[in-house]
């Protein structure tokens, strides 16, 4: 009788916990993306893309290309090179690379060793 009059029973608490857990799993799934893209020009890393977005790649005053990263895949949206091979490559995911020969650009995925770091001082 006492049990029945309680606002919350054990079963209710269990149900609330389960629902909350399911919600959090789906809600936080988007934040668990841990992909990192490395952009190299002439063999030197000049850009680390960690967050989804559109990034302009420049070499001094010279615009090279626009790189788009969605958190899982990366592709070149626009490039100043005449061959456009990098654009034609399309989207690549972890393990794939995009190469632009005229601009000597290599775009590849990298397993981040400094997850959560925005920038390095060196």
């Amino acid at each position: 009788m006492n049990n029945q009059n309680r606002v919350l029973r054990k079963l209710d608490i269990l149900l609330i916990t389960a629902l909350t857990f399911i919600f959090l799993v789906f809600y936080l799934r988007g934040a668990s993306v841990n992909q990192s893209v490395e952009v190299l020009v002439e063999g030197k890393t000049i850009m680390q893309i960690k967050a989804p977005g559109s990034y302009e790649l420049r070499n001094g005053d010279k615009y090279l290309m626009k790189i788009v990263f969605d958190g899982y895949k990366v592709h070149v949206e626009d490039s100043n090179c005449p061959l456009k091979i990098c654009e034609k490559t399309g989207s690549v995911k972890s393990g794939g690379t995009i190469i632009c020969v005229p601009n000597r650009v290599l775009i590849k995925f990298k397993k981040s060793t400094n997850a959560g770091v925005d920038v390095m001082t060196w």
Binding site: L15, I16, V39, K44, V117, D118, V119, T121, W122
Partner: protein, 350 residues
């Protein structure tokens, strides 16, 4: 009994439905609030100036992309103005004269600040080492460093034509004169100055803008991440480029690092790097990396250079530099890390 049971079931169902609906409503509100919350989106611009790779990450209510370009142009303007290898630069004009040279206010203030840093660091920071830097071959950024150690005689002759004591400033007439063929090289402070200028122009355009500007590992914070959170800055391990030896959490200010791994050559197993000791004429010894956090990038840049030069006297660096406005993290040649007590403030996530 049956009726009672069915009533109980019905009662349970109503309560269950109420609890579930309430809970789902609360969770839905949380989800929608966070989904539609006006978090700033950052525009990133990467390019080469200041003789290095620059990264601008900025968010502005006005136009982040345009603001990033304004910042980049300002960095480039400062670089062109003070690049000793550019014949059109102010520094080249000063270096090419043995007489008094009238300079603009910006240049005069930068030179005055340089000399002040030289004084407070007992000459460890020196803006007039052009001849010495040239002798070692560390002046040309785009060219291969010559694999040659200058002779003692060459170094002594270069030292005679180097040093802040050969720089004269005329505050009355805003002019400068270099004595004994000395040459300026503002490499130890110009990057910091450019970053502070980047901050100033960014705030002129949008005082509420946030983000950071990085130039070759020196960083100037424009404002907190998403308006309230600190930017996480990894301090590079001087011997393992992919790893960090510490993490700094900054919502404002600047950080700069001087290391022996940026420009160097090795001969007979000895590393000869680009940060020269103004007293000996040889690459500075004692530290392999010095990171300084300060309110502005000029202070961080100048003190990181001076701290590196004074590496053998690390106690002075970590204890005294906070009085000049810089918190220090110094890595000795044996890998031992020395820190100012004030550094702990920046190593705590806020």
């Amino acid at each position: 009994m049956r009726q009672k049971n069915s009533k109980n079931v019905l009662k349970f169902d109503k309560r269950l439905a109420f609890i579930s609906l309430s809970l789902l409503t609360i969770l839905l509100i949380i989800f929608l609030t966070s989904f539609f919350r006006a978090t700033p989106s950052y525009h990133e611009l990467n390019g080469f100036t200041l003789g290095t790779y620059c990264r601008i990450v900025v968010s502005s209510k006005k136009n982040s992309k345009v603001l990033a370009e304004i910042i980049f142009n300002e960095l480039d303007r400062v670089y062109k103005k003070y690049n000793p290898n550019d014949p059109a630069s102010v520094v080249s004009r000063i270096n090419g004269s043995t007489d008094w040279i009238d300079v603009d206010e910006e240049t005069f203030v930068l030179l005055d600040v340089s000399i002040r840093f030289s004084k407070i660091t007992n000459g460890a920071f020196d803006p007039a080492l052009g001849n010495l830097i040239q002798l070692w071959g560390f002046d040309k950024i785009a060219e291969k460093i010559p694999n040659r150690i200058p002779t003692l005689d060459e170094i002594n002759r270069a030292l005679q034509r180097s040093g802040v004591d050969k720089v004269e400033l005329d505050h009355q007439r805003r002019r400068i004169r270099l004595l004994n063929g000395a040459k300026l090289d503002l490499g130890g402070i110009a990057k910091g100055y450019a970053l502070d200028r980047a901050y100033q122009v960014a705030k002129e355009v949008d005082k509420d803008c946030t983000g950071f500007v990085e130039a070759g590992g020196d960083i100037r914070i424009l404002g907190p991440k998403f308006g309230s959170r600190p930017w996480v800055i990894g301090v590079r391990d001087p011997r393992k480029p992919d790893t960090a030896i510490s993490y700094l959490y900054l919502t404002s200010g600047a950080v700069a690092t001087s290391g022996d791994y940026e420009r160097y050559f090795e001969l007979n197993g000895i590393r000869y790097h680009h940060i020269l000791n103004p007293k000996t004429g040889f690459p500075a010894k004692g530290a392999i990396s010095v990171t300084v956090v300060a309110d502005n990038a000029v202070t961080a840049d100048a003190l990181s250079t001076a701290g590196f030069v004074m590496g053998q006297d690390w106690e002075f660096v970590v204890l005294e530099f906070p009085k000049f406005g810089g918190s220090v993290l110094l890595v000795e040649e044996n890998g031992t890390i020395r820190k100012s007590s004030t550094m702990v403030v920046y190593e705590q996530p806020k």
